[in-house]
């Protein structure tokens, strides 16, 4: 299973490196939205709840682009059939797609989050970096698990561009709430009481539930 997942992941990363389709589009989208917020809100800096909300809503919307493209090569070039013909556990496909999406989100955030800090954020990012990394790690894991599941579900449907956001965004509401709530104290001008552990715990629980759920149902998603 691990060898197959590695082969699929390696193939996906090679294709992304050569086509440069998903990651640049996701990054550009996130940067554009931050610029729009910068001008739309007509404020030089944001903090607290507003900053956390803008950061995470933008990242979730950027993730929709990546999820929509996650099975593009498979769909357009018969890759799913190639996988179904091989003696490969479909969990390997889920793992590869989820890890691939996780990696794409990390690359997007490496560019988008500092840009957000420069364009919109009042308090600096540096002080709360370890906590922020923990939130991003767990948030990305949840987005990746649900994203791979929704991408597989939509892969063989005609209206996949509609299905992905319609399914993905409601499923990610708990991630959005947890990430925004966990990030909000870190973006305050003045540090107050933090509830970070509670929200990280909730995020972890969400991640575990959705990883297990995805593994359980993934086999049936690609059935005829």
């Amino acid at each position: 299973m691990i060898a197959a997942a590695r082969a699929i992941l390696r193939k996906d990363l090679l294709i992304e490196l050569r086509t440069k389709e998903s990651v640049p589009a996701m990054t550009l989208f996130a940067l554009t939205v931050y610029v729009l917020f910068h001008f739309g809100l007509d404020r030089d800096s944001l903090d607290g709840e507003l900053a956390a909300g803008v950061l995470w809503v933008t990242l979730l919307l950027a993730a929709v682009i990546g999820v929509s493209r996650l099975f593009a090569a498979e769909r357009e070039q018969g890759g799913i059939e190639g996988l179904l013909l091989a003696p490969v556990d479909r969990t390997a496909l889920f793992v590869a797609k989820a890890v691939g999406l996780f990696a794409m989100l990390v690359v997007v955030e490496v560019v988008a989050v500092p840009t957000f800090g420069l364009l919109l954020l009042g308090p600096g990012l540096g002080g709360a970096l370890p906590e922020l990394l923990a939130v991003f790690l767990l948030g990305n894991l949840g987005i990746a698990a649900v994203g791979a599941l929704v991408a597989a579900l939509a892969a063989e449907t005609r209206a996949r561009e509609l299905i992905v956001p319609i399914l993905l965004l409601p499923l990610l509401v708990p991630v959005l709430i947890s990430c925004a709530q966990a990030t909000e104290p870190l973006f305050r001008q003045e540090q107050g009481p933090e509830d970070l552990a509670r929200w990280l715990g909730l995020l972890s629980l969400y991640d575990v539930v959705f990883v297990l759920l995805s593994v359980a149902v993934f086999d049936y998603l690609l059935e005829d």
Binding site: R10, K11, I15, R18, Q77, E81, L84, A86, P87, D224
Partner: protein
């Protein structure tokens, strides 16, 4: 010495007769295989006893041959064939000759297969059986259900009713058991345009648990070694088809499902692929083609589909369907499908 059984005669009977010539005792518990066209037994160049049956069948016929008298005289004219065979050392002291053939199941068995797309019936009442090592030509006009049939047999589509057994596995219940044992060469190459031929084959090798070293051999076999490191988007359709053929046989499948396999290929490339996907491959094959004469020449059996219904199924007439024979399928009957 060479013994040849008559067409339709059990392999078992042929070998029992041969065993008697060797002065051997035959284990009466030996299983008898299903009929094949001929079988042979004899002495190889290295004084070894050789028992083999027709190409393709030998794979499924694990024979054990032990002779009572190792020094039994045999005429040294037996031809060691290229195809897979079972070699038994005649000089090992044995006191019993036992010839055992595992009872061979047909590679494909269909009974009343039906498949629909929504309300539209794509296949109905398809009933055919194909022995291991044989070739079935599937003929019919566009939309007759040929590709649907192949996809059902590959486990990519579920049959909606009827019985489908592929390589001894009931579909769709045991679909997982045929994964990796079927080679599928369809309209889509199932290769990625952004990857090179080598990268594509390595990817499939890893999915099938095949050693990477086999990839170079396959690239050479399809004449693509020189251009193996170019992305597929830069290659011609014929070259991609050659790579798709390499992909289909990379894992040495027992069953090949071929949908217009020579589409886009020039004659030289067609010849190049013959040992891999042609009759010479020795594999059980299902061949979909609009080249009626060509398909019948290659096939043992033919299945005709018209509007998803089975128009005929049976043995192909001798000489690629050109010679008339009672009850056999000929080119004329096949051409009726297109009218």
């Amino acid at each position: 010495m060479e013994v040849e059984s008559a067409p339709g005669q059990d392999v078992g009977a042929g070998l029992l007769e041969a065993a008697a010539h060797l002065g051997a005792v035959v284990d009466d518990q030996a299983e008898v295989a299903r009929p094949v066209r001929w079988s042979r037994i004899g002495l190889g160049h290295g004084d070894e006893l050789i028992a083999h049956v027709e190409e393709g069948h030998a794979r499924q016929a694990p024979a054990q041959l032990e002779v009572e008298e190792p020094s039994v005289e045999l005429e040294r004219r037996f031809e060691v064939a290229d195809f897979e065979r079972h070699v038994i050392d005649a000089h090992q002291p044995r006191h019993m000759c036992s010839i055992g053939f595992a009872a061979m199941e047909p590679a494909i068995e269909l009974e009343g297969l039906e498949r629909r797309y929504g309300e539209r019936v794509a296949l109905a009442g398809v009933t055919v059986s194909l022995a291991a090592g044989s070739t079935l030509a599937v003929l019919g006009a566009n939309g007759a259900g040929k590709t649907t049939l192949l996809r059902v047999l590959a486990g990519l589509l579920r049959p909606h009713s009827g019985r489908v057994r592929v390589l001894g596995c009931e579909l769709p219940r045991e679909r997982w058991r045929i994964q990796g044992r079927v080679g599928y060469l369809g309209h889509e190459a199932l290769l990625y345009r952004e990857l090179t031929g080598r990268e594509n084959l390595r990817y499939h090798a890893r999915l099938h648990g095949v050693d990477d070293s086999r990839v170079d051999g396959m690239l050479a076999a399809v004449g693509m070694a020189r251009r193996a490191d170019e992305p597929l988007r830069d290659l011609s359709r014929g070259m991609v088809q050659r790579l798709a053929a390499a992909r289909a046989v990379l894992h040495d499948p027992a069953l090949l499902l071929l949908d217009e396999p020579r589409a886009h290929l020039d004659p030289a490339a067609g010849e190049l692929l013959e040992p891999l996907i042609g009759r010479a491959s020795g594999r059980t094959r299902l061949l979909v083609s609009h080249d009626v004469e060509g398909a019948l020449t290659e096939a043992d059996l033919a299945l005709g589909l018209k509007g998803g219904r089975q128009a005929f199924a049976g043995v192909v007439e001798a000489d690629g369907g050109r010679q008339a024979g009672a009850g056999a399928i000929g080119a004329e009957a096949a051409r009726e499908l297109y009218r």
